[in-house]
């Protein structure tokens, strides 16, 4: 149960009016006012990573580390840009979704965060809830927006070749945003009309919740010795719902944290230079976390099976062919070119880590209080086992890094459960999890 405490009456009497400032945060409970936000960020790259064939003699270009020194893994050439953050990250080997091999391999991005049995879905459904939305469900009452869903292409794309990696509680795809300026406007300068509409909506909800409380109390007076616990539970839950709604309403008035937005390149689009685009999006993610606008972010960096504009990025970068084409390469030059695209992505990721390290929380950096998941739904293309996965950040959430962990056929869902536990979300299971990962990185979570 959340620790949010908010006495509504005191709130309304003491703080009504427009000039709400930071003390309001205190009224919203310790989770908002005192505790450092615990955040989650998932970054997806399609078509797997380059894991060159032995015979080519370019092992150093493998995305997974292939060498060790003094008992520690050595970064490969394509992940070298991440070396400064080695104390903040771990490579995870051997992970997979058990449903992965049963489904067509191209659906791996659809199930990456959900683990759903796409070959045999529940009747009437396609997918199931994604990890980011479970995080959002449990953090939304502490911040302004439940989640931020980003992708290289806007919208939801084409299910089975999805354009978003975020799936709602009902398993429906959540449309992604892809334009830095639009994302900025929505996050940092909400437009008047939508604010008015949002406020109206919240006010109506609060009014109805209030009326339900009234109705429940009327009932309670009529009840004799009936099972009091259940009614108590109902009223406490109702109180909590009301508090959350009021908190949401108040967020609208609370001024945003002051930040320097002057360095943002909001003119970048997915048709600009790929590096410019990714960096602009990563800057926005860091700023959104810093201002505690949301605690759950996903970003689909590129799409499976040659869908969308990102397929052309390797060509723009002078690697000679499209992303999907390169991922299928088995020859040495092809696998090398593919690895060089991995290198490009590592450079962008390093930029995000840099930003997350620059911003400080009260205790540690943003990165220390954020679990960043980076990976793909295929190891090399079409291979749904040993999914390339990197976990970064979260040292203040109990994560211990600087490891290349490996366990054959370990379940992604178990790791996801570990992620949830590390974020303080006490869930019993996630998708087809059989428990938590229970490894050196997540400790007991």
């Amino acid at each position: 149960m959340s620790t949010l405490q908010l006495d509504r009456r005191a709130f309304l009497l003491g703080l009504g009016g427009a000039s709400l400032a930071l003390p309001v945060l205190d009224a919203m409970g310790t989770e908002v006012s005192e505790k450092i936000p615990r955040r989650f960020c998932a970054l997806y790259t399609a078509n797997g990573m380059s894991l060159p064939q032995k015979q080519h003699g370019i092992d150093e270009w493998s995305w997974f580390p292939t060498a060790e020194k003094d008992g520690k893994f050595v970064f490969g050439k394509s992940t070298e840009p991440l070396a400064p953050y080695r104390k903040h990250l771990s490579f995870m080997g051997g992970l997979h979704h058990p449903s992965g091999p049963k489904a067509d391999p191209h659906v791996c991005s659809d199930m990456w965060l959900t683990g759903a049995p796409l070959h045999n879905p529940k009747p009437g459904t396609y997918n199931s809830v994604g990890l980011d939305q479970v995080v959002a469900l449990h953090t939304k009452q502490f911040c302004r927006q439940p989640s931020l869903v980003l992708s290289i292409d806007a919208g939801t794309g084409f299910l089975s070749r999805t354009g978003t990696i975020s799936y709602s509680l009902e398993g429906r795809p959540i449309p992604a945003e892809n334009n830095p300026r639009r994302v900025f406007n929505r996050l940092f300068s909400g437009d008047k009309d939508s604010i008015v509409a949002e406020r109206e909506q919240l006010k109506r909800k609060i009014k109805l919740v209030d009326a339900v409380g009234e109705s429940a109390r009327t009932l309670n007076k009529q009840l004799g010795k009936s099972d009091r616990e259940k009614m108590d539970l109902y009223l406490t839950s109702l109180n909590e719902v009301e508090s959350r709604l009021i908190a949401s309403e108040k967020w609208i008035d609370i001024p945003l944290k002051k930040q320097d937005h002057s360095k943002l390149n909001l003119d970048a689009t997915n048709e600009s230079k790929p590096a410019d685009y990714y960096r602009a999006m990563f800057d926005l993610i860091a700023l959104a976390f810093d201002a505690d606008i949301t605690r759950s972010v996903v970003f689909m960096l590129n799409r499976e099976d040659g869908m969308g504009i990102s397929d052309t990025f390797p060509i723009k970068l002078g690697l000679g062919n499209t992303h999907h084409y390169l991922s299928h390469a088995t020859d040495k030059p092809g696998q090398l070119a593919f690895a060089k695209y991995d290198l490009f992505l590592s450079e962008q990721l390093a930029h995000l880590f840099a930003r997350l390290t620059e911003f400080k929380d009260r205790d540690g950096t943003l990165l220390d209080n954020t679990i960043v998941l980076y990976g793909s739904g295929a190891s090399t293309t079409h291979n749904p086992k040993n999914l390339p996965t990197l976990v970064a950040g979260g040292s203040k959430l109990g994560l211990k890094h600087d490891t290349y962990w490996r366990k054959d056929d370990a379940r992604m869902s178990n790791m996801y459960l570990s992620v949830l536990r590390s974020l303080g979300i006490e869930q019993e299971t996630f998708a087809d999890s059989t428990g938590t990962l229970g490894n050196s990185i997540f400790g007991r979570a």
Binding site: K102, H119, P123, K207, V209, S215, L219, L223
Partner: protein, 963 residues
């Protein structure tokens, strides 16, 4: 602390009655401290404590209160102490006197505990997810499954989800109730003055019916088996309605940047304008068919053979759907609301394609056709048709035309077809292969082939409609309603209806730029049942209409606003009365009306003001909870409305209907209880009970998630599993509706099966998808114990598991649940893998910590070893001898069945009563309630413990009728 919580604690304190302690209790407690506690401490606790639970037993927490939950343990301790089985021989022994004092105390205390009355303080129980869904659907007449976002209910110890102890409530759940109510009402209510928009179109099918086919090549990605563009037409329609509406115009202009060139990724904008880019008829799925062509177009329409399911597992079989897999692909459907798909279809006057290896025939009566133009049939009847290829002709797909009829296949032999021919001249046509002659040989009525043909031509195709969307690797489809039997060779309309929102949706954005993304599908199939030859299904046209309104405003709107009344109080009062399942009182009315008034004051319209009040109703505890209001700790009878709800949520898993509520209003429900229960059991809604109860009591959810080994159990396809899962439900419903003796659960001379289930058993049925009782005459069938939904569900999909099956039988069927496994059970060492199953079980049983429970579990499971993990009798001889916990020896499964049905039938009946009662009341039963029922229930024995009688027994018991 929130103010509500404070307020509650205060109330709770005020109301907490302090029961006067009886002298008995005081004396017992004193002597417990004096003699029993020291006795336990010095003789038992050393081995039976929290850390070291020898044989899974601890007694260190026992005290003089003898709480209900400890009674069983106390009885066990008494037994062990009295018989001097404990302490073990090698331990320090108590003196005879010490033992006697302890035994006497235990006997007396247990007696007192058994006779103490259980306080009855009413109950407040949340609706389960299924009950909530049924209630909302009934109340709002809304078909949408909007309750799907609710998390599943927790399962109680006895397997039920309606247990008041396990039904939780949380802010998240409450938020979901608010959202659902909001969404549901938005879908129910319309602006009565606005004109609705209705989408309707029809796809006609037939060879060459489209004189102006689209010029573009239609591209539908990987493994699309397209239908010729000349063989279908698409036409937008304006259905006739009694009210004004706007026909929806489908978009026909499109711009795409990828996906229009097969499976490749191509980029570059292309523009399209044609209705055939909006709606197209197509096939997709696995290629080929065992005999004949999976589908073909003839002038009258499209012919389909039964859709052979594919496992859709990547790498094992096609993920592109069954053979034959016809669908209409389209880009636009309404966002929400009901829809109707009307298929004009018939059974084709078909011939039976001959099996490979069938010998050609030629007799003096044969008609030989060498001109490939016509023959004259003198004697009407069943003929074998052999097509003899010309020398050098290669085997190829041929189409034989006989009159108007058409038969396509790729034969490797002359024997081709068996067909009924009328007397008279018959036009003959052949394409695809050069023939030497065609021979028509009349078959004697008693010949095997003629008999086979006669039963073939009687078979009726099952038409099914599906809806969903296209994936690149297949489709995600859900059935619309249930398959319908196509009754004759005359074209007839088959109507399928559903709610759009209940079907998988590609959720694509409006301006999506991929040709193949966001393609929705309406599939029409001849459904596969058992693989026997089936006359083809002829589809002439498929028509869509949605949103489907019979009236305007629609029924969902008029359900809340029956007329033009502006009397908000009346509207709210009537709706709330139905929602609360009783008339609302003055305070409730006042507080709900206040919601409306407040909204109106805030400038809201009349309709939205009422909507606000109705939304409050739908999230109020009076709606979400089943409340039995009690004012004293003594037992009181349920009031009439409480009784109405308790009955309907038991027997229908949904709200009471107007008839029951009317009886409650007139105060006659208790008096007419028997007749009302009979009516409710006879009602179709009783199926909702059967499904819910069977699923939970028999733990069928395990089967639902089973992933059987495909190689070992090829017949256990997804479609077969769907039907097999229904079997226990249909069986239970049948024995209940027909008031059969409980013995049928253990052994019955019939099974409830449809064609799919019968085929799984190797039986034959002609019932299509309808479950009907079939006599089986076999020793491996009958009752529920032999059902694959149970036996396979209690396996891992590869090997049968006697431990799971044994535990299931002990818990569910004879109500002798084993104790929970103790904590820290040591795992069996790896080397046991080499041992035989029997040896492994023995090893398990002999291991300290396991023995206690497994001795009560495994023996029940061993006789089931005659069944494999797919729930069928193993072909190899199996050693299924077992010595049951009560020392009875059974030789095999049949002996176990006989033993249960004869010697232990009281126990089986008690188990049914117990589970029914727990389910009916939604509460755990107390020790004394259970023990009372164990003895009192014997009254039903003389009549064989009939199933409906047992339901009535539970309903007429105090457990049910008092609060």
């Amino acid at each position: 602390m929130t103010s509500a919580r404070r307020w509650f604690l205060l109330l709770a304190l005020l109301f907490m009655a302090t029961p006067a302690r009886s002298d008995d209790a005081a004396t017992l407690e004193k002597s417990f401290d004096l003699s029993v506690k020291p006795f336990l401490k010095s003789h038992c606790v050393r081995c039976h404590n929290a850390d070291k639970m020898t044989s899974g037993v601890r007694v260190d927490h026992l005290d003089a209160k003898l709480e209900d939950r400890h009674l069983k343990l106390w009885e066990h301790v008494l037994k062990q102490t009295k018989s001097a089985a404990m302490p073990p021989e090698d331990a320090k022994q108590p003196s005879a006197d010490e033992r006697k004092r302890a035994v006497e105390w235990m006997e007396q205390a247990i007696m007192v505990a058994r006779s103490r009355p259980t306080p009855k303080n009413g109950s407040v129980r949340r609706l389960t997810v299924a009950q909530y869904r049924n209630t909302l659907r009934d109340l709002l007449r809304l078909d949408d499954n909007i309750a799907d976002i609710l998390p599943p209910d927790a399962v109680s110890r006895d397997g039920f989800v309606n247990n008041s102890e396990t039904l939780q409530l949380s802010p998240l759940l409450l938020e979901a109730y608010f959202d659902i109510a909001d969404q549901a009402l938005s879908r129910c209510l319309v602006d009565p003055k606005a004109k609705p928009t209705i989408q309707s179109f029809r796809v006609d099918l037939g060879a060459g019916i489209n004189a102006k086919p689209i010029k573009d090549n239609l591209v539908l990605g990987a493994d699309s088996l397209l239908i010729d563009k000349r063989d279908f037409t698409v036409e937008e329609r304006k259905p006739s309605k009694s009210f004004a509406f706007e026909p929806f115009k489908m978009q026909t202009k499109y711009r795409f940047i990828e996906g229009y060139a097969g499976n490749d990724t191509v980029r570059g904008w292309r523009e399209y304008e044609n209705i055939y880019h909006s709606v197209f008829a197509c096939m997709r799925g696995s290629h080929g068919y065992p005999k004949g062509r999976a589908y073909s177009t003839v002038p009258e329409g499209l012919l389909l053979r039964p859709a052979i399911p594919s496992s859709e597992l990547f790498g094992e079989s096609s993920t592109y759907g069954p053979r034959a897999n016809f669908k209409i692909a389209l880009r636009e459907l309404p966002d929400a609301g009901r829809f109707r798909v009307t298929v004009l279809a018939a059974k084709y006057d078909d011939g039976l394609m001959l099996d490979p290896g069938t010998k050609p025939l030629e007799t003096p009566d044969s008609l030989v056709c060498r001109d490939f133009k016509s023959v004259t049939v003198k004697t009407p009847g069943v003929y074998q048709v052999d097509i003899h290829a010309a020398k050098m002709a290669k085997s190829a797909e041929v189409t034989l035309k006989l009159g108007e009829r058409s038969f396509t296949g790729t034969p490797n032999q002359p024997a081709f077809l068996t067909v009924r021919l009328p007397a008279g001249p018959l036009l003959v046509g052949i394409t695809g292969m050069t023939l030497e002659r065609i021979v028509f040989t009349p078959l004697a009525a008693e010949s095997d082939l003629a008999k086979r043909f006669t039963s073939f031509e009687k078979r009726l195709p099952q038409i099914g409609v599906h809806m969903g969307f296209r994936r690149d690797c297949g489709s995600t489809l859900s059935p619309v309603g249930v398959p319908q039997t196509v009754t004759g060779e005359k074209l007839m309309k088959y109507v399928f209806e559903g709610a759009v929102q209940n079907f998988p949706d590609p959720n694509v954005e409006k301006d999506n730029v991929n040709y193949l993304a966001g393609v929705r599908e309406i599939g029409v199939r001849s459904e596969y049942t058992d693989g026997r030859d089936m006359p083809r299904l002829l589809i002439r046209s498929v028509e869509f209409e949605g949103p489907l309104y019979d009236t305007w405003p629609p029924a969902t709107h008029r359900n809340i606003f029956p007329d033009d009344t502006q009397d908000a109080k009346k509207v709210i009062r009537e709706f709330a009365g139905r929602a609360f399942r009783r008339p609302i009182n003055a305070q409730e009315e006042a507080s709900l009306f206040a919601v409306f008034e407040k909204a109106i004051k805030g400038g809201t319209s009349f309709q939205n003001g009422v909507k606000d009040a109705v939304q409050v109703v739908l999230t109020s505890p009076q709606f979400l909870f089943l409340i039995e209001n009690s004012s004293t700790p003594a037992a009181e009878p349920l009031d009439q409305y409480e009784l109405a709800s308790k009955l309907s949520y038991f027997l229908w898993n949904g709200p009471p209907d107007a008839t029951t509520l009317k009886l409650a209003t007139s105060g006659e429900l208790t008096k007419k209880l028997d007749a009302e229960v009979e009516r409710m059991i006879a009602d179709p809604r009783f199926s909702q009970f059967a499904g819910e109860f069977a699923n939970q009591w028999l733990a069928l959810d395990k089967f639902a998630v089973l992933e059987p080994d495909r190689k070992k159990f090829p017949k256990l396809t997804r479609d077969a599993r769907t039907q097999l899962r229904e079997e226990p439900v249909k069986f239970l419903e049948y024995v209940m509706r027909n008031n059969l003796p409980v013995r049928n659960l253990i052994t019955s001379d019939f099974v409830m099966a449809n064609e799919v289930v019968a085929n799984y058993y190797g039986l034959t049925s002609e019932s299509g998808f309808k479950f009907e009782p079939i006599r089986h005459g076999r020793r491996d069938l009958g009752g529920i114990l032999t059902e694959p939904a149970i036996l396979a569900g209690l396996s891992d999909g590869r090997e049968s598991n006697p431990v799971k099956r044994g535990a299931w039988l002990a818990r569910r069927i004879i109500a002798e649940p084993p104790d929970d496994p103790p904590p820290n059970v040591p795992a069996l060492t790896e080397d046991t893998k080499k041992l035989s199953l029997r040896e492994r079980l023995e090893k398990h049983r002999n291991q300290a910590g396991c023995a206690q429970c497994h001795a009560k579990i495994d023996p029940w499971g061993v006789p089931f070893e005659e069944f494999d993990a797919g729930g069928l009798f193993k072909t190899a001889k199996v050693d299924a001898r077992s010595r049951l916990p009560d020392k009875t020896e059974v030789a095999d499964f049949a002996a176990l069945q006989k033993y249960l049905a004869e010697d232990r039938i009281d126990q089986v009946a008690f188990s049914v009563l117990k589970h029914l009662a727990i389910y009916a009341t939604g509460c755990n039963l107390t020790y004394s309630e259970l023990e009372f029922m164990r003895k009192d229930g014997l009254r039903l024995k003389s009549d064989g413990y009939r199933m409906r009688d047992m339901i009535r027994y539970v309903i007429s018991s105090k457990m049910f009728l008092e609060k």
